[in-house]
Structure formats: C-alpha cells, structure tokens
Amino acid sequence: MNPVAVGLPSILTIEDDPVLGAYVHEHLGRCGFQVTWCQNGQQGLKMAREQAFDVVLMDILLPGLDGLEILTHLRQSHSVPVILVSALGAEADRVNGFRLGADDYLPKPFSMVELRVRIEAILRRVALDRRPPASLPTVRDDARSLRFDDELSDVFYQQHWAGLTRSEYRLLHILHSSGEEVLSKAFLYQHVLQRGYAPHDRSLDMHISQIRRKLKAIGYSEREVRTVWGKGYVLSGHDDGL
C-alpha cells in the first residue's frame, strides 16, 4: 500500500442496490476516500466491528440485517460516525435513526455533492473534537473587533454584550475561528447542534438570524454572517460581496 493511501479517510458503505452502490463506491473513490463496499447487513456489521473506519455509510433497508439493527448493535461497542441513507423519507424514520445514535441522515435520492458535503462535515467535526482548537487568532484591533468570552458564552463589542445563547455563541465562534472559509450547513449542524442536517430543520438558520440581529444591535458592522447559497455560511467583511 502506498504511503499516501494510508492517510486517506476510510469509508465503509453498506448498500444493497448494485447500481447505486457501485456509483457511490466509484465516486467517493475519485473524491479521495478509501471505500469498502459491502452488500449485506450481517457482513457489514462484522466488518464495521473488526476494522477501523472513519465513517460508515449505511442504507436502512438491507437484506440480512436492517440498518437500524446494525446501528443498535454497533453502538454497543463502537462510536464510529454513521450516516444513514434511506429512501424512506419519513420524519419518524429520521428521528428514529438519530435516537439510535446515527450521526446524520441522508434521504434518497441525494446528489453526490450532498453526500460528499455530509461526509466531510462529519470528518471535520471528528477531527475538531479530537484536538481542541488552539486559542483564537491573535486579536487584531481590540477596539474594532469582537471579544469572545468562553466563560460567559458571549461576545463583547464596544462596552456591550451581545447576549448570545450558548448555541449562538458556539456558532459564531466556529465561524469566527474559520476565518473567511465557508462552512457547510452539514458541518455547522454537526458541530453546533450535534445532529444531522435536514431540509426542513430551520434551527441553524434561526440561530444565524438571531446572531445577525444581536450583532446589529450592539453596532458591530465590521464583519457579518453571510449566506453563501448552496454552500453554507461565512463570517466576512463587507467588501467581499456575494
């Protein structure tokens, strides 16, 4: 095995549909992941237990053992991140999956771009959880920038506290420490709200809306949370237009 391949994130996909499975296998391989494809539930569970994977991608309706059962068994001993994939788009199924310990839920049909965003979000969150971020980039200009207070979970700007909630603080903090990088909704859900992203889930958008209002209320206008359509959110200055 060549030394580069060792560093690639490894993914186990458990998917019984040969067409979709092959396509996912090929596509993720091209994206730079090391993919193991397994078509049977029993076998998939065995592999997930024996080998160390970075992410497990799993269908719910499987021959042999159903995805939710695999998840139940797997969670007894392993904490490997699991993304459930299902054509059963029902809300109840999604809730069930999260209750059993799934990290994300992706309804079929999905685009490969979406799948990749979700996988990357989880990998990034895991990496972030493993090593706590170093202290914030050095404060540039005390008077004109926000001061983050981890103890109070709030930001301070020109004599005023913004009055953020814990989630809002976490969200603003991660946006701030990522600099000008656009963070995907999938990642922000994973990192801030500790759950998968679903199209009808508006909690994150609502937090963003509140952050904007609160920053505006304390008169902070040097940078603002911008929406990058189809990608995510970024905290950036005014001059970088959309």
């Binding site: 109840a92 049909p109 508006r202 609502m206 929406t227």
Partner: protein, 456 residues
C-alpha cells in the same frame, strides 16, 4: 380528606351505567321479595279457610241435625246420624251444651277427648296438624240447644290447590318478572353493542360513511361514550382513507407531467448538455413533489405533539425573507415586517417556519410587478394574531377555503410550473398540528392570510 376525594373520584360518573344497573337490580330484588312475601301470605290465608260451599253444606247438616232433634229427640238424632254415616265417611256426632251426645249412643272417652278442642266454621284450618280437624257447628235456629260435631271430610279441606298456587307465586311469576328484566337489560346493553357490530361489518364492506344513530351517540353513559368514540374513529378513518386516496390519485397525476416531459426529451434529439439540464430540472420537480406529498401525509397522520419553543417572529421573518429574496430576486424592502421585536410566539420552529414560508412563497408568486408583501399582527389575549398581505388582487370568495386543499391550483397554471398546489395545505396542516389556526380573507387589494398563534 384526600383519600376520601380519591375514593369519590374512583366512583363512576353521574351518568354512568353503573347507577342505572344498580337501581334496576335493587328495585327488582325488593319487588321480588315483597311480592313473594305478600302473595305468599295472601295465598296462605286464602287457603286456610273453608270455602263458601263447604260452609253452606256443613250448615245444612247442622240444620238437619237440629230438625231431627227438635222433632223426634234422640231417636231422631240416631236416625239422622245413621243417614249421615252413609253420606260421609268421617265421624259425626250431635252434642248438647253439656258436651254429651244428644243421640242414644254415649260418647267414648277418646271422642270426649276430641271434643275439648273444636274449631268453629269460620276459623282458619291449619294444614300442619295431623289428621283431619274436628268442627263444632252450633244449631242454626237455637245455638243454645246443641251443636253438630263433625270430623271435616277430606273433600272440604281447604288448600287443595296450594301446590299449584305455590308454583305460580314462587316460580312462574318471579320467572316472568326476571324475563322482563332480562329483556330490559338486553335492550339497555346489547342493542347498542349490536349497532356497533353492524357498523363494524359495514366497514368491512367498505361503507366508511355509515354512522351510528343519534340515539346511540347521544346517550350519557359509557355506551354512549363508546358509541361516540366509535363514530370519531370512523370519522378519522374515513378522512384518512379519503385523503390518502386523493393524495395518491393527485400525486400519480402530477408525476405524469415531468415523466412525459422526460419521455419527450428522451425521444427528441438534443445535445447532451441540454438533455442533462432538462433531466436535472424534471428530477428536481419530481423530488419536490414526492417530498411535499410525504410531508403533507406525515403532518396529517402523525399525532404526537411537536416540541415547542419560543420563537421571535421578527427573526423568523428575517430568515424567511433572506431565502425568499434569493429565490425570487425581490429586494428585501418589498417584504416589510411591521411587527416589533416584542412579538414572540410559542410553537414548533420547523412547522411554523414551513407554514409561513409557504404562505410567503404563495404571496410572492401571485404578486404584481413591484408588489409588496407585508407581515403585520396584533396581540389578542393569549394569542398573537398575525396576517400576511399581498397585492395580488385576491381570489374568488368561494375559493377562500378551497385553496387549503391539496393539489388546488386556482389560475389553471401549468403543473410543476407554479408549484403543485401543496404549499398552503402543508401550511395549514403545520399550523393545525400546533393548535393554531390559519384562514384567508380578501382585502380588496389582495389576499390576506391570517395566522393565530399562541403567544410566548
């Protein structure tokens, strides 16, 4: 005190069947006991006395004995006694006031013994003594002279039909009353159950619109409750089935449109880029249709309450406005929110956002060029009454309710183009899941959609 109240609480309610049954059974038991007691007594009494004819015959005998004594003395009595012995098999004697025989034959000791306890003609005759009773019948014309003593012949003994009357009073009549009680209980309990069974059978035959009679559901007791629960269940069942059928029919109809477009695209010769773009568009439409339909079905069938939180309407509007501006290319100034930051409602964020977003999208779609869609509202006691107003000219008064039905498109717009007509019905279901209400009204300028949400 609390233990007492607890006991009281465990008692059946005022209209419970328990009280009816208890009253009925207690009354029945008391009636039975009273009947058998009083009738038994009456019958016993009736059967203890000699009948009218027996008395007349016996009085006749006494008159005959007196006649024999007064005309011929002891010889006459002897002759009369001889005649009588042929007629009656029991002992007969005629005695004077000194308790000595008036005939020539004196009384034996045993007979004298019997004379110490004699019954009158109108005394009750007990059945419980051994043997036949002895009666003393004074002479009718001059009772001081003497009396006829007779061992009562068996045929005059009262109570010959006593067994029969016992059977009637202790067996037949209680039996009949119990039968009546049974019929009453059957009508009270089983007839309503039979109606329920008939309705269940009607469902089996796919007649979901059958309902119980008014009499069955208007009862106040447990059976009435059961009937109402049953009716409610069939109502719900019918609603669900109708909705599902309608949804399935409409959905397959709607799916045909993108499918037929795809078929055309597949058959016609186009270059790959165009085909791919067309494919992507139609797949998006189909996916949206499936998701919306599932969402609608989910909102309608799921009965568990949604988690609620406090939502600031202004922040919610800002969030929806950003999306809407991106989708429609409207400037934010055309979507003003006239509510202050103090407007907080209590509800489920996702459902509320979806409802308001769908209403907003609908308003934008039907707005004229440079139209304005505004959100306003006022506090109404425990509620916030919000309304979203457009300038799209409004709709026909008759359609104000119809726009909330799934797959309703008023202006005959092409399917898939202006949506599938699911947005407002999803909005209504999402609002109703939170015990809030949603309705529409024409303002003259446009349509005003009202929302009544619980205030935080």
């Amino acid at each position: 005190m609390t233990a007492f109240e607890g006991c009281l609480k465990r008692l059946p309610g005022k209209h419970s069947l328990f009280w009816k049954l208890a009253c009925l059974l207690i009354a029945f038991c008391l009636l039975m006991i009273w009947l058998s007691w009083s009738w038994g007594r009456y019958m016993e009494q009736q059967n203890a006395y000699l009948s009218e004819t027996s008395r007349e015959i016996l009085s006749g005998y006494a008159a005959g004995a007196e006649l024999a004594w007064s005309t011929q003395g002891s010889a006459g009595v002897d002759a009369w006694l001889q005649r009588m012995a042929a007629r009656e098999s029991t002992w007969i004697g005629v005695i004077g006031n000194d308790l000595q025989s008036l005939g020539s034959t004196p009384l034996t000791d045993k007979e004298s013994q019997r004379l110490t306890f004699l019954r009158g003609l109108d005394w009750p005759v007990s059945r419980h003594v051994n043997g036949l009773p002895w009666l003393k019948i004074p002479f009718p014309l001059d009772p001081s002279v003497g009396s006829l003593v007779i061992e009562l012949p068996q045929r005059f003994m009262p109570g010959r039909y006593q067994l029969f009357w016992r059977v009637v009073t202790n067996g037949v009549i209680p039996g009949l009353f119990t039968l009546l009680l049974c019929i009453g209980l059957y009508r009270l309990l089983i007839v309503p159950l039979n109606q329920l069974r008939e309705q269940a059978n009607a469902w089996r035959a796919d007649q979901l619109n059958t309902r119980l009679s008014y009499a069955a559901t208007s009862r106040q007791d447990e059976l009435g409750e059961l009937g109402r629960a049953f009716d409610h269940m069939s109502e719900r069942l019918q609603g669900t089935v109708v909705l599902q059928q309608q949804l399935l029919r409409d959905m397959s109809h709607e799916l045909r449109t993108p499918l037929s477009r795809l078929r055309v695209a597949c058959d016609s010769e186009q270059d790959l880029a165009q085909l791919r773009e067309r494919l992507g568009r139609e797949i998006d439409a189909m996916q949206r249709l499936v998701e919306d339909s599932l969402q609608l079905a989910w909102l309608d069938t799921e009965r568990t309450p949604l988690p609620v939180e406090d939502i600031q309407v202004q922040a919610l509007w800002d969030m929806l406005k950003e999306n809407a501006c991106f989708e429609s290319d409207w400037p934010a100034s055309r979507l003003p929110c006239l509510l202050g930051p103090d407007c907080w409602v209590r509800g489920n964020l996702n459902a509320s956002a979806q409802a308001l977003e769908n209403i907003l999208r609908n308003a934008i779609r039907h707005s004229p060029v440079d139209g304005v869609v505004s959100l306003d509202g006022r506090r109404d006691g425990e509620y916030w009454h919000l309304w979203l107003e457009d300038q799209g000219g409004g709709i026909d008064e008759r359609d104000l309710e119809r726009i909330f039905a799934p797959f309703t498109r008023l202006d005959g717009s092409r399917p898939g183009n202006g949506g599938f007509g699911l947005g407002l019905s999803i909005a209504r279901n999402a609002v109703q899941r939170q015990d809030a209400s949603l309705w529409a009204e024409n303002t003259g300028q446009g349509l005003r959609v009202h929302l009544r949400l619980l205030a935080a």
